[in-house]
């Protein structure tokens, strides 16, 4: 079982993930239409580029935009959630040992203690995200079961990983579940809302180009996000 989930299944899910994400990006770019979108993308590439970079960078920066500053509590949770979500798996020692063994390279790693903190932070943030959905009428009205499902898919590798790492219960069982849930997330990214993993950059870039080229970018210092 372990061999299967870390072998062919891992390959398959990584392939689906990479190809899927690339296809999403390519389709997004192919879907641009200067006349339908009403933005002359090709005519003012430098203005478009500036606007796009501006739009992405400001929004990647915690509290970098008015939107982020307006909801400080949510923003903190949001960044904790997303930073942990990406940093933990990429820099985890155990993952990097695997990388080194299989592909001969690895990233810098974080200590196990840091990984634990990030994991717990992520799970706590996830709980807050759920509570927020239930508590705030303006979020409740938007929420569907699908939002919870997506959140569960994202949180599952962390819960199972934590259990496995701390050998709570049956190590083998949690490890396999951890790997499976990680693979499920990879596969889900191109096909669900999790596609915003990549499409965030596309959509932000596009609105950035829109503001950079058409809506004032050529007549002002650029959109004050």
């Amino acid at each position: 079982m372990y061999e299967f989930v870390t072998g062919p299944l891992a390959w398959l899910s990584f392939m689906i993930f990479f190809i899927g994400v690339i296809v999403r990006i390519v389709l997004y770019i192919k879907g641009l239409d200067w006349q339908l979108d009403r933005v002359a993308y090709m005519e003012y590439k430098s203005y478009g580029f500036k606007g796009a970079v501006r739009s992405i960078l400001y929004w990647l920066l915690p509290f970098g935009t008015r939107g982020w500053r307006y909801y400080p509590f949510f923003t903190t949770i949001f960044f904790v959630f997303h930073i942990s979500l990406i940093a933990t798996p990429v820099f985890l020692q155990a993952h990097n040992i695997l990388l080194q063994e299989r592909f001969g390279f690895s990233f810098i790693t974080i200590s196990e203690c840091t990984a634990d903190i990030l994991t717990i932070a992520l799970l706590a943030a996830a709980v807050f995200l759920v509570l927020r959905r239930i508590a705030l009428p303006e979020v409740r009205i938007l929420t569907t079961w699908y939002d919870y499902l997506v959140l569960a898919i994202a949180a599952a590798p962390f819960i199972t990983g934590y259990f496995a790492a701390h050998e709570i219960g049956n190590y083998k069982f949690w490890l396999i579940l951890h790997i499976l849930s990680g693979e499920l997330m990879l596969v889900a990214i191109p096909f669900t809302k999790l596609s915003h993993f990549a499409l965030f950059f596309m959509s932000r870039a596009q609105l950035g180009m829109d503001y950079g080229i058409k809506r004032g970018g050529m007549k002002s210092k650029g959109m004050a996000w």
Binding site: W34, Q35, A40, R66, G67, F74, V139, R140, L207
Partner: protein, 466 residues
């Protein structure tokens, strides 16, 4: 398929059709018929298929919206309606356009009426929410698209259908003909020439420096606005002209979602540019007009550059330039002394980047300029955008929507609001009427005329002898 006498999918292309629709007072019969108007689901499905399925960002936007609710408080209508969750931008679009897409156009008449009510009374396409969404999802754009779908199906507010029909027939949002327009120009030049010797409103002069274009309301209801523009150009020594045709900048067709009429309208202006070969165009103090003709227009007309055939400027740009270069000089003694605030029009500030010139103007003309909060690109819609001012069916909702601007103005402590946008100007006038907070409002032109130093050679003869 059932179509009404007044309410149907047909476009208004003849005077007869227009008059018939106008004869149905307040669209009473029109809205009654709408309840039985069939949905052309095939057309709807095809249109979505064509524009949504393969192209454009809208499908992705609907799909990736994280349902985070960060756009909620960015919408002035959400705030004005006591944080009603049904006014959350994302909810508004998901529950209308989102459903149409999900159901592949298989929706009912009742549903499209609900969509119409949402599209025209719960969104002014001010594009503010797009600025607060972490994923860069712009509901204003999507509502514009939804309006187009609804227009094609005949589910469009009565006034909007008339408005776009006006553009189709008169190339103006009102029934102002070429003769009416040219007459008004002559009449105004005449009327004011005693006080302003040599005052002219040149029509169809070729190779002028400035082609000046207006909002049809000006010749129709406020001809002095035209005279004021002429006086200021006269004082500034501009070589300018107005076109006999293609003089109208506004686009109720844009509010209606009638893209075909939008194209016809802007092309009439672009034709004037080509015909008269001016160096640049200056647009009167109107926000949506500028957005329609200068920002969106080139795309409707299929101009790949995304630019109007000649460079185009909003009135605030011209005023800022005239003050900066000294073409217009302000008498320091006549500057506005009382506290004064400025209404940032979404259409040329957020959607065209002209916040700075507005501030520059204020630095010349006001001693105590006070900003509203928030301001510049983050301003709130006045409450009257996107056609909201002009639809009887949504009067109540419009009036409720004015509250945010009312409170913003009150917080500045100013009694005077400068508003170089016809729609905002109207909304602020109406908010005073509804809420009576004791404010005044003004375009730039009349204020400037009271403040500028008039060169001696332009003054009437007898005054000089004094």
């Amino acid at each position: 398929m059932a179509q009404g006498k007044y309410c149907n999918r047909e476009k208004i292309n003849t005077l007869e059709q227009l008059q018939s629709l106008l004869s149905d007072t307040n669209g009473k019969q029109y809205y009654k018929e709408m309840e039985d108007l069939d949905v052309d689901t095939e057309l709807l499905a095809n249109t979505i298929q064509k524009t949504l399925k393969q192209k454009s960002r809208i499908k992705t936007w609907l799909e990736i919206c994280a349902h985070c609710g960060m756009c909620a408080e960015s919408c002035f209508l959400y705030l004005a309606n006591d944080n009603d969750p049904e006014q959350v931008p994302s909810y508004k679009i998901q529950s209308t356009l989102g459903e149409i897409v999900k159901k592949k156009g298989q929706v009912s008449t009742e549903f499209l009426i609900k969509c119409m009510d949402t599209a025209w009374s719960k969104c002014t396409c001010c594009n503010r929410c797009g600025q607060y969404c972490p994923l860069g999802i712009d509901m204003g754009i999507m509502f514009g698209y939804l309006r187009g779908l609804l227009f094609n199906q005949g589910f469009v507010p009565w006034e909007m259908k008339i408005g776009s029909g006006m553009h189709r027939i008169f190339r103006a949002q009102m029934d102002v003909t070429t003769e009416d327009w040219v007459d008004t120009c002559e009449w105004m030049a005449d009327e004011y020439s005693e006080d302003w010797p040599g005052l002219e409103i040149p029509v169809d002069k070729e190779n002028a420096d400035i082609l000046y274009t207006v909002n049809a309301r000006e010749p129709k209801h406020y001809p002095e606005d035209l005279a004021e523009a002429a006086i200021l150009f006269h004082i500034a020594g501009e070589n300018w002209t107005v076109p006999s045709e293609g003089w109208e900048e506004t686009s109720l067709a844009m509010f209606a979602g009638d893209w075909e009429a939008c194209k016809l309208q802007v092309e009439s202006v672009y034709d004037a540019m080509k015909r008269l070969n001016p160096k640049r165009m200056v647009v009167t103090e109107c926000g949506h007009a500028y957005r329609a003709t200068v920002i969106e227009g080139p795309y409707w007309a299929g101009l790949k550059s995304g630019q109007t055939p000649i460079p185009s400027f909003h009135y605030v740009e011209w005023v800022a330039e005239a003050l900066r270069t000294g073409k217009l000089k302000i008498d320091p003694a006549k500057k506005i002394k009382e506290p004064v605030t400025y209404q940032d029009s979404c259409n040329y500030i957020r959607n065209a980047g002209l916040a700075d010139c507005a501030r520059e103007i204020m630095s010349y003309i006001a001693e105590d300029f006070r900003e509203m909060t928030p301001n510049r690109e983050h301003n709130f819609c006045c409450g009257g955008g996107g056609g909201f001012n002009g639809m009887g069916r949504y009067r109540k909702q419009r009036n409720a929507g004015l509250k945010v601007k009312r409170d913003q103005i009150l917080a500045t402590g100013c009694k005077l609001v400068i508003s170089p946008c016809h729609n905002c100007w109207d909304a602020i006038r109406d908010l005073e009427e509804v809420y009576e907070i004791g404010i005044r409002w003004s375009f730039l032109k009349p204020l400037l005329i009271d403040m500028v130093i008039v060169p001696d050679h332009l003054k009437p003869q007898d005054e000089e002898d004094e």
